[in-house]
């Protein structure tokens, strides 16, 4: 078997985001790096990928491995552009996917809608029933099943979900039904409810399966097309796809569990952050990815991103498979500022989005946004904005700020813009704090890893607000997701429910489960045609006190923990999180988790900023000065070009560093230093 992507081969990481398709082409032998940013082609993302490869003049025959992050499935779910998919379920329960465990979309306000993933006329029932112990109460009616399968075929379904109650306890009926359906169904698109997630909770399991099934044909078609296009152009190798767990999987297998790709893009950004941080010696990071419409936050501890099995991608749309725990905390550059009826300045939640977008995009946006405030205060250079249709003068922005915000607040236009940033930063800092403490951590123990187009504009102010001592800005903040593709490992995650008190649990069973998970993961990694340098194992347990519903994840030192270790690790983790000691109550061992990771050979990031472009002195990297508004007034501020910064340089704030895809604000008093990989570490003096 040929193994691709071994040390020495050229690797391409391609991330298709909502607006841009980003590419990093890295040749480890020569350390040469080529970068591209091309508009995403919505209808067929493959065109954008090809355009990005063309833009770096890549010789496809020489590329060893292409790793791909895609939003094909994300967009399909959020826009409900799904393949026609049918559901066959237990008699009496066809409405589960529509009823949900319903709350309402907003805590206050009786408005709001919900659209089920599979419409009611494509949800059929067959007689069959397991009880909660997995005992058959009603045998599967195979004739009824055949009829249901045919009916769904005749209505044009191209994907099928078979989801029965309690199949996690006994999957026999689901398996039998899938086998019967496979005899009739015209393609392989049959998803069993228990296959991806073998846990109780029929809604969460059903939605996970339904999402997966209804994007599977889309993903298959897209990857087939991409594979054909690339091989026609001479690419000999394998395409790997990023999963939401931050690992990559062969494009031949990935569609079978397509739901796992729904958070692919954000996950790869976090993986890049973890990798970059590890190389820079900063293991604890809060990632802060601010784009035009939203801001994503994730937590990395000891270079390991936090993972969750309970992510909701939108209201009442849970995908319960292990995924990098990326939280969207609202505001982006397009968030609109207004003065409310109480005379208070509010920023967001309303957003100008990408269309019309901020005023400065020149697409007809006429309401003040965060991006416009950055323009008005000299932080953003209006001449360097990407994606501007019809340039708008700073004077126009200023007059809108004066009219909409300054006048009602009794402030000058610039003061009102500064206020917008202050209020927006206070909100974002609060949201980041909530993410951090919900995971049991104090943000002050972390560095802030700023990326995305707007992350580095706000990071120093946020760090100041949060008491975070350091901001880390990677060398290529605007293409971090593509970098995640380049550095990603192979990864398989397993969850098994055991649900027994620690003092009574059968430890042999615990050890056997971990051993089984390990073997399964290693088998899957062997099947991939990608070279790895070693296999890493990460074990953890989800625990709780008896009577509690929340789970606390505890990292385990190995696959054979003893009772004392389990108990003491849990008690310590619980105390660390809640400052509550509860020796009165017994603890439960709920889930056993293993991640089996095929570690790829290390990737040298030191040439992400081409050494040839670097100047010898800081002065030579300065491309000009302009007045920038800091702390209540204008300050003449040096503007540097990132690629020209001398290696290891030290910059004292105030300063602005510009580069192709982002702008970094270094506030007065901050001290920034460049490291060997070209990351900038900004020390927030006083924190």
């Amino acid at each position: 078997m040929t193994e691709y992507g071994l040390a020495g081969g050229i690797v391409a990481g391609v991330d298709v985001g909502g607006t841009y398709t980003d590419l990093i082409l890295l040749d480890p032998a020569t350390k040469q790096v080529r970068l591209a940013k091309q508009p995403t082609t919505a209808v067929n993302q493959a065109f954008g990928v090809l355009a990005a490869l063309r833009a770096v003049a890549a010789d496809l025959t020489s590329i060893d491995l292409i790793v791909h992050g895609t939003t094909t499935t994300t967009n399909a779910v959020l826009e409900r552009n799904l393949c026609r998919t049918g559901l066959i379920t237990t008699a009496g329960f066809r409405d589960l996917l529509e009823l949900g465990r319903r709350t309402r979309p907003h805590a206050y306000g009786m408005f709001g809608r919900f659209k089920p993933i599979i419409p009611r006329d494509l949800r059929l029932e067959v007689p069959e029933r397991m009880d909660a112990t997995g005992t058959v109460r009603t045998p599967l009616d195979e004739d009824a099943l055949r009829r249901a399968v045919r009916q769904l075929m005749h209505t044009g379904c191209e994907s099928l979900v078979i989801h029965f109650l309690h199949a996690y306890a006994n999957p026999t009926h689901e398996r039998r039904a899938a086998a019967i359906a496979a005899e009739i169904w015209p393609n392989g698109n049959i998803t069993m409810g228990h296959a991806m997630l073998s846990e109780s909770r029929e809604y969460e399991r059903g939605v996970t399966a339904a999402i997966s099934a209804s994007v599977q044909p889309l993903l298959t078609r897209y990857l087939d097309r991409l594979r054909t296009e690339l091989s026609e152009r001479g690419y000999p190798g394998e395409i790997l796809v990023m999963n939401g767990n931050g690992g990559m999987v062969s494009s031949h297998f990935v569609a079978k569990e397509a739901a796992k790709t729904v958070m692919s893009g954000p996950a790869s950004g976090v993986m890049a952050a973890a990798y970059t941080g590890r190389r820079a010696g900063v293991g604890n990071l809060i990632t802060y990815d601010m784009g035009g419409t939203s801001t994503d936050v994730a937590l990395i501890r000891d270079a390991e991103p936090a993972v969750s099995n309970e992510i909701e991608i939108e209201y009442a749309m849970p995908i319960h498979v292990p995924m990098v725990d990326v939280r969207t905390v609202g505001a982006g550059g397009g968030s609109i500022a207004r003065v409310d009826e109480a005379g208070l300045l509010q920023v967001g939640p309303e957003s100008a989005g990408a269309d019309p977008g901020p005023i400065c995009y020149g697409r007809g946006g006429a309401r003040p946004t965060i991006s416009d405030a950055n323009i008005l205060l000299g932080r953003l250079n209006p001449d360097k904005l990407l994606a501007v249709d019809d340039p708008v003068s700073v004077d126009t922005v200023r007059s809108i700020f004066a009219r909409d915000l300054g006048d009602p607040l009794g402030l000058a236009a610039e003061e009102s813009a500064a206020a917008v940033l202050q209020v927006a930063n206070a909100h974002m800092a609060g949201a980041i704090r909530m993410v951090s403490i919900s995971l049991g951590t104090d943000p002050r123990d972390f560095a802030l890893f700023a990326f995305g187009g707007a992350g580095p504009l706000h990071a120093t102010a946020l760090a100041r607000e949060l008491g975070i001592p350091t901001v880390l800005v990677p060398s290529r903040p605007g293409i971090t997701n593509a970098l995640g593709c380049v550095v990603a490992d192979l990864r398989h995650d397993f969850v098994n429910t055991i649900n027994a008190p620690i003092d009574a649990v059968d430890l042999d069973r615990v050890h056997a489960i971990f051993a089984r998970q390990t073997a399964a993961g290693e088998r899957l990694i062997e099947k991939e045609t990608v070279g790895i340098s070693e296999i890493r194992h990460v074990f953890s347990a989800d625990m709780q006190f008896v009577g509690q519903t929340h789970l606390l994840r505890v990292a385990l030192p190995g696959p054979t923990p003893d009772r004392t270790t389990l108990q003491s690790l849990f008690e310590r983790a619980y105390f660390d999180r809640f400052r509550v000691e509860l020796s009165e109550i017994r603890a439960n061992l709920v889930n056993l988790n293993a991640s089996i990771i095929g570690v790829r050979p290390p990737v040298d990031l030191s040439s992400l900023i081409d050494p040839a472009t670097r100047e010898v002195t800081l002065a030579a990297a300065e491309i000009g000065t302009r007045p920038v508004w800091f702390a209540g007034g204008w300050q003449d501020t040096s503007i540097y070009w990132r690629d020209r910064l001398p290696a290891g340089c030290r910059i004292e704030g105030p300063a602005i560093v510009e580069q192709m895809d982002t702008t970094i604000v270094i506030e007065p008093g901050n001290i920034a230093t460049d490291d060997p990989d070209g990351n900038i570490h900004i020390q927030i003096v006083g924190n």
Partner: protein, 584 residues
């Protein structure tokens, strides 16, 4: 010097953050699934002198928006009069007395004085719904109590923590009077830890901005919140608006109870009058004043979701005390239905009264019941007693923008319904069906959402079924020409015989044997606007999805649909609609 508006905004979000962190700490550490999963709790900051609401967590249960300031105010008054002990640093008072600014007995409030330089700067308080508080019914939702003593243990404000140490004696008394007491220590610690988190965060806020600045900001924010509410009120045309909503019965006397509401815009305020409502009732459907007020506040916040939760925002909402009605209950009137059911009828009356004045932001009536079905029994297989709760949602009202949500949760809550699989794991029951209740959405230009229909069988042993629901007699009201949603139905099959409770939606302790089953249909939402103006294609889609039958399309929406696959008979539909219009 007046505070600048930016500092105000930042302090406002800082205070909010303190409360949100308390909420999160409480939920994450809590034991009771009612708190941890259903978020049936709330945390906030209250004024030192009168308990006025300064800020409250955004994720708190809506019913608590107004109650906690009354609870804190009552405590402050009792300290002044000597009826509660003098506060000292690190004390925490515990209280659940409904008549002292509460809801039902299960909602247990903690209050902690927050000191700066030896003076009380404000109070930090929270409420959590304990899974049991003693009384005649496990879980506390009685359908037929006639005095508060039957509903459980009632605590006046006493110090559970004295200078930071828990009083083991008081705790022992509590534990001796409630069920599943051994796990309550987890909730007590979570509830008190949340207040400690609040204290630490508030310290940081005050240290940063200065005590005087924050004090000034709190005062200013209160004034501005009132202004914001008044700006919203100005959208309501001056005049008087009236509506009534009806509770099926009090569970004891089988007669409806009327919530009779008049809303009058007076200048820049809204005056709510409930004085024509029914007198106090024998059964547990009385509401204490704090809950009545809170129900009005939460309804207004559903209408204007952007107003801050603060005493200032509620100032322009003037509620005349409904003396002598069941909405101003006094000791010893039983009150266990007030938070879950009566509150939602009050909110329904607010919606119904204001929907004509504010047709864009008020919806037709939602299902508006918590749908409590409790099953208590003994499982012979495990030899254990159990109490199972099934709460459920119903349809929401249609509105100016769209059809109502199907199976939404109660107006006063934000709780998720439990999964069927988890219920079957934990209790000896089997759900035969868990389905959308076809035809239940009230007809309208925008129809109501659909209710839920479930059928659950007792597999082993014996058990007793209790129901505290509502809308069994009257469906959720339609608005602006829309029809009411379907009523709630309860039917119990015992030994093959069907039994319907006399009070339709309420009854306690119906004995069941293995093989018996319970069938519940929850209400659909009210329709919004004239159903004969509904787009026939939308009616066709509803028929194709099985939401309505072709007959219902004809009778409810005046749309003629026939054939297979079903199609609209345009000519017949136009004729039918024209004839209907001519009749009107």
């Amino acid at each position: 010097m007046a505070l600048d508006p930016i500092t105000l905004s930042v302090i406002q979000s800082g205070l909010q953050q303190v409360c949100d962190e308390m909420d999160m700490c409480f939920s994450r550490a809590a034991f009771s699934p009612v708190i941890a999963e259903a978020n049936d709790r709330s945390d906030g900051i209250y004024a030192a002198d009168d308990g006025a609401l300064i800020a409250q967590g955004a994720g708190g249960l809506p019913i608590f928006v107004g109650t906690m300031q009354f609870s804190t105010r009552t405590l402050i008054e009792m300290i002044r009069s000597g009826d509660a002990g003098e506060p000292e640093p690190d004390d925490i008072y515990i209280v659940n007395d409904p008549y002292l600014g509460g809801t039902h007995l299960m909602d247990v409030r903690f209050a902690r004085p927050y000191y700066r330089d030896g003076e009380i700067f404000c109070w930090l308080s929270n409420t959590g719904h304990w899974p049991d508080i003693g009384g005649s019914v496990p879980g506390g939702f009685s359908a037929s109590a006639t005095a508060v003593e039957q509903e459980g243990l009632r605590l006046p404000p006493v110090k559970l923590f004295k200078r930071g140490r828990m009083d083991r004696e008081i705790y022992a008394i509590i534990c001796s009077n409630i069920r599943v007491a051994e796990q309550r220590i987890g909730d007590v610690k979570a509830q008190s830890a949340a207040l400690l988190v609040g204290e630490a965060r508030l310290n940081a806020l005050l240290d940063r901005y200065g005590d005087d600045t924050v004090r000034e900001a709190i005062a200013e924010l209160r004034i501005r919140a009132a202004e914001q509410m008044r700006a919203h009120i100005a959208r309501i045309p001056a005049g008087t608006y009236q509506a009534s909503a009806y509770v099926d019965s009090d569970g004891v006397v089988n007669e409806p109870l009327e919530v009779n509401l008049t809303v009058t815009r007076k200048g820049r305020d809204l005056v709510f009058d409930l004085s024509k409502s029914s007198p106090p009732c024998q059964g547990p459907m009385n509401s204490v004043l704090a809950t009545t007020l809170s129900s009005i506040y939460l309804a207004m916040r559903h209408i204007f979701p952007d107003i801050p939760i603060s005493a200032g925002a509620f100032e322009p909402l003037i509620v005349n005390r409904p003396v002598g009605t069941f909405l101003d209950a006094h000791y010893p009137r039983p009150v266990s239905g007030c938070a879950a059911e009566v509150s939602q009828r009050i909110a329904e009356a607010v919606f119904a009264a204001l929907v004509e004045a504010l047709p864009d932001v008020v919806t037709a009536a939602p299902a508006g019941s918590s749908g409590n079905f409790a099953l208590g029994g003994h499982d012979p297989d495990s030899d254990r007693s159990y109490v199972m709760y099934q709460i459920s949602g119903g349809g929401y009202g249609g509105n100016a923008d769209h059809d109502g949500l199907t199976n939404g949760c109660s107006t006063i809550g934000i709780s998720k319904a439990p999964p069927v699989e988890i219920m079957e794991q934990a209790y000896p029951v089997l759900y035969r069906r868990y389905a959308l209740r076809e035809g239940s959405g009230g007809a309208g230009y925008h129809r109501g959402g659909f209710g839920l229909e479930y059928e659950v069988e007792l597999l082993r042993g014996e058990a007793r079924a209790s129901f505290v629901m509502d809308h069994g007699r009257f469906g959720p009201q339609g608005a602006l020409g829309g029809a009411a949603g379907a009523t709630n139905t309860v039917r119990v099959w015992r030994n093959g015989q069907s039994y319907i409770p006399d009070h339709l939606s309420k009854e306690q302790n119906i004995p069941l044997a293995a093989g018996d089953h319970v069938h519940v249909g929850t209400p659909g939402g009210g329709g919004y606007g004239d159903p004969c103006r509904r787009d026939p294609t939308e009616v066709l889609e509803d028929v194709c999805l099985g939401y309505y039958t072709p007959e219902q399309a004809h009778t409810l929406f005046a749309v003629v649909i026939d054939g297979a696959p079903p199609t609209i008979d345009r000519a017949a539909t136009e004729a039918l609609r024209a004839a209907g219009a001519a009749q009107r």
